[in-house]
């Protein structure tokens, strides 16, 4: 299988072979794996690797061979674009719609990248790690009071303990 994808870097992840390819080889690599027997499309998803960009991962199965393979590529954060696999696996179209709305990745050649799960008018890509969880920001953190302090005292106190994972007020959003 390793000679199917010229230029791929092979490794293993979650007990199965993993091929890292350049974004330019994405469509050809998925097509080659499908034609070589891994013709059952299981999933496509993305991982926010912050400054390094976004990883896009596809998991493919061979039903008769009972083997699977992971195909992965990395797109830059500044311009997250990738060829759509909807022409190779029809089922990939929904997964790409989800990756597009959740991570803000543009899938070139997709038949219709409409949001799949998010409500109309939702602004932002909520699975990006720099996305601020508004529901956390608007709620007072139950861990804010110091021992021996009521939550009312903590709300007006000078010293503020900040919850993990929520940016301090004034460091995010519009002023």
């Amino acid at each position: 299988m390793t000679d199917l994808l010229p230029g791929a870097r092979w490794g293993r992840a979650t007990g199965r072979p993993l091929a890292d390819v350049d974004p330019g080889d994405w469509l050809a690599s998925a097509t080659a794996l499908r034609d070589a027997g891994h013709d059952y499309f299981d999933l496509l998803t993305a991982v926010d690797e912050q400054e390094a960009g976004f990883d896009v991962v596809v998991h493919l199965w061979s039903v008769p061979g009972r083997t699977s393979v992971l195909l992965r590529t990395r797109v830059p954060r500044a311009e997250p674009r990738l060829d759509s696999l909807a022409g190779v696996f029809k089922g990939a179209a929904w997964h790409e719609r989800q990756a597009a709305e959740m991570f803000g990745i543009d899938f070139h050649g997709h038949p219709g990248l409409d949001p799949l799960l998010l409500p109309d008018g939702f602004d932002g890509a909520p699975l990006r790690k720099d996305f601020v969880l508004a529901s956390r920001v608007v709620r007072p953190w139950p861990g804010a009071p110091e021992p021996g302090q009521s939550s009312a005292e903590a709300a007006v106190g000078r010293r503020k303990t900040l919850p993990p994972g929520v940016p301090a007020p004034g460091t995010w959003g519009s002023p």
């Binding site: 009972r66 139950p142 021992p147 009521s150």
Partner: protein, 156 residues
């Protein structure tokens, strides 16, 4: 990936897993079942660790300081923290058990009690009195599982 199961085997498995007649028959729950979190209030020092570690933000604590007079002539007056409110919102709780793990004073325990469903999510916020009642349903720690390693705190 598991081995394939034939249709005949699959039907046999379904028969074997026939549902017990709950609530007429109480279920036999496995050891360390996570039904509800109970509070042993006497051990709580209001250190706030549980509320701060909770990833679901579902533990609410209120407390105040009370003066403690000096215990001997010429001693200094001190203060102690008094718990005013301890509530867990089980509508938000994800049953991860981090609060039970993190409590340095053994004030939080897992109880296997599970029958506290409510029609309104607000009724799933349980205050200290209810959490304390559940304390009396906390089972003794189960014996070691077969093949378990030695406990780190035990010598030798």
């Amino acid at each position: 990936m598991g081995e394939p199961v034939s249709v005949v085997d699959g039907l046999a498995l379904l028969r074997a897993a026939a549902a017990a007649r709950y609530p007429d028959v109480q279920p036999e729950l496995p050891a360390r079942s996570r039904g509800v979190i109970a509070l042993f209030e006497e051990n709580c020092t209001v250190c706030m660790l549980c509320a701060r570690e909770c990833p679901a933000w579902c533990i609410h604590l209120e407390s105040h300081k009370e003066p403690v007079p000096p215990t001997h002539e010429g001693g200094r007056p001190r203060t102690r923290n008094v718990l005013d409110r301890f509530a867990i919102d089980f509508a938000l709780c994800l049953y991860c058990g981090i609060c039970v793990e993190v409590c340095p004073f053994d004030a939080l325990f897992w109880s296997p009690e599970f029958a506290y469903a409510a029609t309104d999510p607000a009724d799933l916020v349980h205050e200290r009195d209810r959490l304390r009642e559940w304390m009396w349903t906390v089972p003794a720690p189960p014996p070691w599982d077969e093949g378990a390693g030695p406990a780190p705190e035990e010598p030798g």
